[in-house]
Amino acid sequence: MRISLFITCYNDTLFPETGKSVVRVLERLGHTVEFRKEQTCCGQMHWNTGYLHEAVPIIRHFVGVYRDAETVVAPSSSCVSMMRDHYLKAAEMAGDAKLAADVEALLPRVYEFTELLVKRLGVEDVGATFPHKVTLHTSCHSQRSLHLGDIPVRLLNKVRGLELLSIENPQECCGFGGTFSIKNADVSSAMLAEKVRTVLNTGAEVCTAVDNSCLMHIYGSLHRQRTLVRTAHIAEILASTGGQA
């Protein structure tokens, strides 16, 4: 299958290893990955902060870039949930019927990375080896918007050597919330403190998730506290074959 990678703006800029890992896993499974250089961002930051009209050109740009793509994958559940939950509304708000029609035609072909593997490609064992203790942070959008359910767990359970440790209150938000973490820095920090406490209680070496946004937030505190616990996007674990720590 020809799969077009939407890396997302923050993964492109901050987490290139995640993108490389997605490419590696998909190519290992025999698929062709393409990268459209015109891509930028899904518009979530603007939309969620209330800059609704400013988000529209970004959304239009995204849809223009991928209109003819066979399948699109993004290693971020929050960006995919932005598309599924809000794109149609944005097109309607802009009074752009053409954009609305394009959105409706495109979105059924857009997948979050783990969703693509399990639901579209029917793969759970991607041939990975990662001999470490891992805990999974179930990000809000992956559960409550995309309803990924146990998809990430099923993938992790097939990774050789990986020990998956359960975490207390897995459904609770880490407190990132995009600009929430800045506009309400104190509350966000209090939420994060609780999340980090539960991560540390698991005894895991690595905390993973399908979203680097949450992981960037969680690692921000783990690093500040000088703990040795690391974070890694699930694609990086699934790409791993050597199992180096």
Binding site: T49, D85, C140, C173, F180, M191
Partner: protein
């Protein structure tokens, strides 16, 4: 629009939250209480095989009632009047306060008993009565604790959830003059009972709220756990029920749905211990005079806003408060309103004024836990974003807002994000410009201006020197294929 309530301040959410976050006692109490209620709620919701269908039905009933609110309110008025009740229409808080005070004064009452009326908190009724020589006595146990503690409610189902047993004992000891009172639940309950019984028997006018109005027969419904409501609703000669106009249900049989979802969502009970439903007045049974005050107070404009109308579907179960990770940290007082939590974050700014509540739509990480538990499927995150849009629009109308750091930053980002050339250039500039912030550990530990909020508790990963797109371009120019990619891509570190 009505004036803001004087006993709730105009503090912004971040400001009020900062103060509450420093109160470890409140945080412990809130966390404990919400955990207990949440666990009970999950248990009794989980045992219903048709829970999702009940949510769907509740949502449809409430949405239909709102679509035809004008007809159902008039139908309610007709049927309530026919049953011997009197219906009053109050445009705003001031008018409702005036009507209620007038009714009390007509009966020369100097004291009233009150039950189950957060709406009276919304309009500041107690202050209005006190200022006019009428003493209100709260009889819901939690609201009594709040009143005697000279406090404010922090939750609209469990208003004293921020207080623990020892604190309740101290309040009762002081205010009821019971220095020897113990802190066992039975002790506290007995003290409250003795204190309240005397009032039920002596005071002749009661003010209540209502959970639902039924249009087809003019009935009013209140559910509760203590029986204190039943006393208030049946013993006094005069009963005045203050009810928001949105609370009407078309048919009696609609209660079949909401009386299943409300108690399970609110207190984790299959059914409330006391379910009072009454119509008008009946000779020799209950109050001799019954008044319903229908309150608009900012509800009509919400009804007119297609995006935000779903706010009014709310049946006040407070499940969204108990599920909210923000509420868990701050409790209710940070919202500076009778309606805290996620529903408060959308209701308060609309009811009062966006000016008062402009920080409330941002008091959420948009995690979606509120929408997931809502028994009438109010998409709170969606309404929050809609209201954020209104805040931004208002802001952009002023010069200060236009030139503000948020607007300038967002406009610049939107310009960058709508072109790959500009985005790539911005990445390269960021990789260079960050150097003054990156510490020896390779992390950013301190940022200026509004970004300092991040680094007060969190480090930030520095931008790697090669973005993904630059790596991809390099790979392509090397004639990159699967093997090339595999070699270049390192294992997860």
């Amino acid at each position: 629009m009505s004036a803001p309530q004087s006993h709730w301040t105009n503090r912004s959410f971040p400001e009020a939250a900062k103060e509450l976050l420093a109160d470890s006692q409140i945080r412990r109490n809130v966390r404990h209480a919400t955990d207990v209620i949440q666990a009970k709620r999950n248990r009794v919701v989980g045992e219903l095989p048709d829970w999702e269908a009940l949510r769907e039905a509740g949502s449809a009933i409430r949405a239909h009632a709102l679509e035809h609110l004008d007809e159902y309110l008039v139908e309610f008025e007709r049927n309530c009047t026919r049953a011997g009740g009197t219906v009053h229409w109050a445009r705003d808080a001031a008018e409702a306060n005036r009507i209620i005070l007038g009714l009390i004064q007509r009966h020369q009452a100097k004291e009233v008993i009150k039950i189950k009326t957060m709406t009276s908190e919304e309009i500041g009724l107690n202050r209005h009565l006190e200022a006019n020589g009428v003493r209100p006595h709260e009889t819901d146990l939690a609201e009594l604790i709040v009143q005697l503690g000279h406090d404010k409610p922090s939750h609209f189902v469990v208003p004293a959830l921020h207080k623990n047993r020892q604190q309740v004992r101290e309040i009762f000891q002081r205010e009821m003059h019971l220095p020897e009172l113990g802190d066992k639940p039975e002790d506290l309950c007995a003290a409250a009972r003795a204190y309240l019984r005397e009032k039920y028997l002596r005071i002749k006018v009661a003010v209540s709220g209502a959970n639902f109005l039924v249009a087809e027969n003019g009935a009013v419904c209140i559910v509760e756990s203590e029986g204190n409501g039943r006393m208030c609703l049946t013993l006094p000669d005069v009963l005045i029920s203050l009810v928001g106009i949105e609370k009407v249900l078309p048919r009696f049989r609609d209660l079949e749905v909401v009386l299943q979802t409300l108690p399970r969502s609110a207190t984790g009970e299959r059914m409330n211990p006391y379910n009072s439903i009454w119509t008008g007045v009946h000779e020799g049974d209950g109050p001799k005079e019954f008044h319903v005050v229908l309150l608009d107070n900012g509800r009509s404009p919400i009804l007119a806003d297609g995006e935000a109308r779903q706010t009014l579907k709310c049946i006040r179960c407070a499940a969204c408060l108990n599920a909210c990770p923000v509420y868990h940290q701050t409790g209710g007082h940070a919202y500076e309103s009778a309606y805290p939590g996620p529903i408060g974050a959308i209701l308060t700014p609309q009811l009062h004024s966006m000016e008062q509540g402009r920080t409330l739509p941002y008091a959420s990480s948009l995690c979606g836990a509120c929408y997931e538990v809502c028994p009438v499927k109010i998409n709170i995150p969606e309404v929050l974003i809609h209201l954020r849009g209104k805040v931004v629009e208002q802001d952009q109308k002023t010069l200060g807002g236009k030139l503000g750091v948020w607007n300038v930053g967002m406009q610049a980002a939107a310009f960058v994000m709508s072109s790959a050339q500009r985005f790539t250039l911005a990445q390269h500039m960021g990789q260079l410009a960050q150097k003054i912030f990156v510490s020896k550990s390779g992390f950013i530990e301190r940022l200026p201006f509004m970004l300092s909020g991040w680094t007060q508790t969190r480090d930030l990963k520095a931008l790697p020197q090669q973005s993904f797109r630059d790596w991809w371009a390099e790979r392509e120019s090397n004639g990159g294929d699967a093997t090339g990619a595999a070699k270049e891509s390192r294992d997860a570190k």
